[in-house]
Symmetry: C2
Subunit: 440 residues, 2 copies
């Protein structure tokens, strides 16, 4: 299974999905750049999320808050005190580890057996606002987007005239100074969270928890992830976070084991109460029907977009031994197809002239490419044999390959090849956009 | 004109476009949160940018890099040395200012006349990677997205088999620890840049500079900004940045004066050369036709998304004295319309039952709302008289108001009101989606 992980990492690098940040400088641990295909895939997932949970929902609005916020927010939220990992240091080589990750009590760097006692290390990145860098003005990079939904709660509720229940959604960059990292992009120091804080009447919280857990699970099925690779993990009462009444993770069967992909937490009225207390502002909700004021409860469905990308990549990864096309070249080795769902494939259409040394074919192919580009995510490719190019497109999950051949010049039609069935159809160029739009 | 600025700030706060980050804690200078309408408006501008410059261009690919990168990148780019402002301190009250912003040599805080000599203050936010916080491991938050396009240049070019000329585009969060801030969101400490590094053969750079300057200007016209409110500013040779051969700003006529909205720079081969030198990796391009290797020149069109949002808000802001509808209520005061271009309006359709105390109208209106929501950015509103609701929708720039009245219940048609002409048409509900799609 770790072998599969290596194949994914290698494919991601080779085809421009994901590669290390600052790679020419040797990279930086746990920081990854998304290349042309990776950034499109990630955007497609984000846009689908925005469509389903902001545009289509009647009671969810979006915000876009800052990464750096007032430092007191992290006191109120409990992050300054509790968002820590126990850090130990090898007394021999001074390497540092997360105490609970070091199962073998032997330093993996030098074999040393003596460690310093665990010290709590805060995972928030620290920075300094304004032109004075001293301990009096430290600030932090948000480790989650949630807090601005709480601090903006009243402004959003009032300006948008919202009534309970309603949600505030946000997606954006978050930062965690992880002590131990690894498993490719799974535990990164920078990542985009997509989450909703859904405010409800106390007493209705358990019902809404169940609702959001179902919605959240459905989203991953909509991304095309196989049902058998998803499962729920109910956090035991005793290990719940300080703010949580109930937390359920949605886990994916990663090659390195079942691990958290997303989660839903019942944060109760913890955050609004704490921010009222620390800011001195009243964040209670005025219930006009009941003629009283109270703190809403909050259900928080949350997911990491990069983990969704990784799960989708693994789930779509398909190897066909001996090849599907049975050409001599293919039979010798394994063909790879990324079977992305059509809603999120980074390239929808490849446009291919049959051969590249016939100027009239190339010219026509480029015309078709120009025609399709405003409507679809397209890629033009003329290098190598047509069979090789089909496989190259299969490997990045392109949904349809449009081939321009000699018949095209006479009959003004093209071949449209389906990635999964490999079936080919002749379609008139004049019908091409409508035909592809219908299938997408 | 500053009066107009105050009106915009107030409208943005009142209607949930933009308000201070961490406001319940007193806010943080120059950090702004985008509320439900502001975040949609900003996303619409970003998505239009992505469509025009990534999807529709044949030779531009997207990446999504990290905010924190290898610290050596900022040495190579020159930021560590030169991305500074001259900082002076009032000797009396210790307030700090940018020397070149203090025209009157008198402290605006206390009237003091003596200042410390200017000290160069670096505008990059500093942070610390990994569990050791000491001067040996400082890292920085990117003040621009450009550098990862240079460090990823070879990987992107090779994995995507790109030939000159081609561009790498990126949009994402950037951070600048500004000494002086102000003019609402104009100079913020966090902002989203949208930029392209377009790599060309040396010698073709001037031609491509002109091309991109036109494309960039056209984008702002496409956003609906009036031509007379845009102008070009050619940087004099002697004040060009260290890497630039030519820089032209696109300025907008803000209420506080003509100011930079976007720009195009000819960065020559400065960045690729410097990164080759500092990283030890060869970032030359292999020109197969010419059988030689060389450093491409780089044309950089860049813009700040928040500045585009601000310009669009100001440009769309229209006051109609005495009101357009001539109702008693309206005549008394000024009506405000945000005349957003239809491509970027945050709310496309408002769905309004004529009155809210008739359950059958409300039920029908909610059905229409549900019908339209998957297709358009919609808002449902039932509070207040219909005239008042029309004006409320005009104030946030909603393109069309769909009203459900008693005739709707009999004839299954609705009134569609156009924001700009105020003309109303009866449309069958069965034709509604097609009819609105046609107009949008």
């Amino acid at each position: 299974m770790q072998d599969l992980m290596q194949k994914i990492v290698s494919l991601c690098k080779r085809r421009g999905f994901i590669f290390p940040s600052s790679e020419i400088y040797g990279g930086v641990e746990a920081l990854w750049d998304y290349g042309p295909l990776g950034s499109l895939l990630k955007n497609n997932i984000r846009d689908l999320w925005l469509k389903k949970f902001v545009q289509e929902k009647e009671d969810v609005v979006l915000i876009d808050g800052t990464v750096i916020m007032h430092p007191k927010i992290w006191e109120a939220s409990g992050h300054l005190e509790s968002f820590t990992d126990p850090l130990i240091e090898c007394k021999k080589c001074h390497s540092r580890f997360r105490a609970n990750h070091l199962v073998k009590k032997i330093c993996p760097q030098c074999g040393g057996k003596e460690f310093t006692p665990p010290k709590q290390f805060n995972l928030m990145f620290k920075t300094f606002l304004g032109p004075v860098e001293d301990e009096a003005s430290p600030s932090y990079l948000r480790p989650e987007t949630a807090q601005s939904m709480f601090t903006d709660f009243r402004t959003v509720q009032e300006t948008m005239r919202l009534k309970l229940p309603f949600g505030i959604a946000q997606t954006g960059r978050c930062f965690r100074n992880e002590v131990t990292t690894g498993n490719f992009t799974f535990r990164s120091r920078e990542f985009d969270i997509a989450e909703i804080e859904y405010f409800v009447k106390p007493g209705n919280d358990e019902k809404w928890f169940d609702f959001w857990l179902k919605e959240w699970e459905k989203f991953f099925l909509d991304l095309g992830i196989k049902k058998e690779n998803l499962r729920l993990y109910e956090h035991p009462k005793k290990s719940l976070a300080h703010y949580s009444k109930r937390t359920v993770d949605i886990e994916y069967k990663f090659p390195f084991g079942w691990s958290e992909l997303a989660g839903v937490a019942n944060r109760t009225d913890y955050d609004l109460k704490r921010h009222s207390q620390f800011s001195g502002e009243d964040l209670k909700y005025s219930d006009e029907e009941k003629k009283k004021k109270y703190y809403p409860y909050v259900i928080e469905p949350t997911m990491g977009l990069e983990r969704a990308v990784l799960a989708v990549l693994i789930d779509a990864y398909t190897e066909i031994k001996g090849g599907r096309t049975k050409t001599t070249e293919a039979v010798k080795k394994v063909e790879t197809v990324l079977k992305f769902d059509k809603k999120i494939a980074p390239i929808q259409i490849a446009v291919l002239p049959l051969v590249k040394n016939k100027p009239e074919l190339v010219k026509k192919a480029k015309e078709v490419f120009k025609l399709l580009k405003p409507h679809f995510l397209c890629q033009y490719d003329e290098v190598g044999s047509i069979g090789r190019r089909y496989r190259r497109q299969d490997e990045i999950g392109t949904l349809f390959a449009v081939t321009i051949d000699f018949d095209t010049l006479e009959k003004n039609d093209v071949t449209v090849r389906d990635r999964d069935t490999m079936k080919q159809k002749r379609i008139k160029i004049t019908d091409l956009i409508a035909c592809l739009e219908k299938q997408l």
